[in-house]
């Protein structure tokens, strides 16, 4: 492996690791603006993280080693994902060839599954409730994700996100093809569900709509800090994949240099700020759907994903 590639690899992992709390901070601040509040500092997630890492970790009675190890395994998994998907480079970096779309989906699934195990291991009714809710809705979300992968594979003839990025950024007709537009819409609906935004979940409503946060009730101190960090990394990664592979594949510098990669970090964060504006606009205009209506929302995402494959069959290749 070339030294430049090694540096780019490290830079990409560091981008996800260090900028993911900032994205969460910007999102919280922007949301506060729409509610006529000043809101917390954009660096608040870093302050929170520093606080969690200094605090004592308490373990519930009867919790096994899974309770401690699971957040760390999930953290490692998200870090691994951050060096295999297109985040700051439009060209594959060294480890990217080891994983395709399906592999990335499986890694996200692994991180989610071990977090669930930790929630169940605590023995608390509240975390078990959060875990069972998450699984109930994931059962509707996962088929959509698989169909999205099928549609992407149909567009490019491969399951490699880098190929998709290159094709979409170079071909307007591929970008405007109904299959791509529908699959982008389906993935966006899934993105909102996965990162816990309205209309699926509201972080302000801790009791009734709790899905993601419900699983973390029994964790404290460093482990809670790592779980929170995992959530921010997941959000950053999914937003990056949505932008670079589906919605806005343009703008990244293709030269495989460290300077080019550094510029791409800025490009990516600029794109993410636009996405944040979109997310905040959605949060300001839609209400949270009732818990059992989330199924309808996911059915819509699934229908769009199926239609994207269907559009390919009816209308042919772009």
């Amino acid at each position: 492996m070339e030294p430049t590639q090694q540096v780019v690899n490290v830079l990409q992992a560091a981008t996800v690791l260090l900028l993911s709390p900032l994205l969460a901070g910007v999102l919280a601040r922007a949301k506060a603006w729409t509610e006529s509040r000043t809101g917390p500092s954009v660096f608040q997630p870093y302050f929170d993280l520093a606080k969690y890492l200094r605090k004592e970790t308490l373990l519930p009675d009867g919790a096994s080693r899974v309770f401690i190890v699971a957040p760390l395994v999930a953290f490692g998994t998200y870090l691994l994902i951050s060096i295999v998907v297109p985040i700051i480079t439009p060209y594959p970096i060294p480890y990217a060839s080891s994983v395709d779309f399906l592999g990335g989906g499986l890694l996200f699934g692994l991180a989610g599954a071990v977090t669930l195990l930790a929630a169940l291991d605590s023995g608390s009714n509240y975390t078990a409730l959060g875990a069972s809710r998450t699984v109930s809705f994931a059962a509707f979300g996962e088929p959509t994700l698989i169909v999205v992968f099928f549609a992407v594979a149909l567009i490019t003839g491969t399951n490699n996100p880098y190929v998709t990025n290159n094709l979409l950024s170079s071909s307007t007709s591929a970008y405007l093809a109904p299959t791509h537009l529908l699959v982008t819409a389906a993935f966006f609906l899934l993105l909102l569900a996965e990162i816990g935004r309205l209309p699926v979940e509201s972080a302000g409503l801790m009791e009734f709509g709790m899905l993601e946060d419900g699983r973390q009730f029994e964790h404290s101190g460093r482990l809670l800090g790592i779980l929170r960090w995992n959530g921010w990394m997941k959000q950053f990664l999914l937003c990056s994949v949505f932008l670079n592979v589906f919605a806005a594949p343009w703008g990244m510098i293709a030269q495989p240099t460290v300077l080019g990669a550094l510029v791409n970090v800025g490009v990516l964060f600029g794109k993410q700020l636009v996405l944040v504006a979109g997310l905040v606009a959605i949060e300001a205009t839609v209400a949270k759907v009732r818990l059992f209506k989330i199924r309808d929302y996911l059915a819509l995402a699934f229908s769009l994903a199926i239609l994207s494959v269907f559009a390919f069959a009816v209308l042919g290749a772009p």
């Binding site: 093809a177 109904p178 309808d296 059915a299 239609l307 009816v314 772009p318």
Partner: protein, 215 residues
């Protein structure tokens, strides 16, 4: 795919999405908006065809579609809703959104399969299956809904499918045939509205029977 075909494909998928929305919506007001949007898309499609083929007939048809289907008929239906507020929502439809959406997708797939087996060789155009799929969607709506106004909208969707098919396959089709379709639609809407008013005023013997059977 060239630009013209790509625009036709995009509008066609938009029409398909509106049909999916119509299947999964249980309130009548948004359904009227949906059918108006579908008709508007159809008008845009006809306008695009008129532009690319330099056809005055198609341009006239596009204007007629927008005025009659996207403005007049939705206006008549909205007046009905205002007159009878209880029609605003279909009874017991609240919990069927998921089922209806998935049934619509399944029906679309079956319709496409049937089209491929039967008509694909006769109509080889890109997106030629879309009007046929829209027809089946309208049929599904007629079959699964019990509200008269919603059934009228299912019929409108079927008529939209016929106009769509006419625009795609019968370029240069005599205009008066299309106008007959429009008058047909207008007639059905008026007759549907009059019949529903009559039923509200006089009552229907079937309703009594149904109530007896409902337990």
């Amino acid at each position: 795919m060239d630009l013209s075909a790509e625009v036709l494909a995009l509008i066609g998928v938009g029409v398909l999405l509106t049909s999916l929305f119509l299947q999964s919506e249980s309130f009548v007001d948004p359904l009227i908006d949906g059918i108006a949007l579908q008709s508007l898309l159809l008008g845009v499609l006809l306008g695009w065809l008129a532009w690319t083929e330099h056809s005055v007939d198609l341009a006239f048809l596009a204007g007629l579609t927008v005025v009659v289907r996207a403005i007049v008929i939705p206006y008549v239906l909205r007046r009905q809703i205002r007159a009878f507020r209880w029609r605003i929502r279909e009874v017991h439809a609240a919990n069927r959104v998921t089922g209806h959406a998935l049934a619509a997708v399944a029906a679309a797939i079956v319709a496409w399969f049937v089209f491929q087996q039967t008509l694909a060789t006769v109509f080889p155009q890109t997106g030629g299956a879309l009007p046929f799929i829209l027809l089946v969607q309208g049929l599904l709506m007629l079959a699964t809904r019990s509200n008269t106004l919603v059934q009228v909208m299912g019929y409108l969707e079927e008529e939209n499918a016929i106009v769509y098919a006419g625009a795609l396959f019968a370029s240069g089709f005599p205009l008066f045939v299309e106008v007959v379709v429009f008058l047909d639609v207008l007639g059905v809407v008026l007759v549907g509205v009059i019949l529903s008013i009559q039923r509200d005023v006089t009552g229907s013997p079937e309703e009594v029977v149904l109530e007896e059977l409902s337990g």
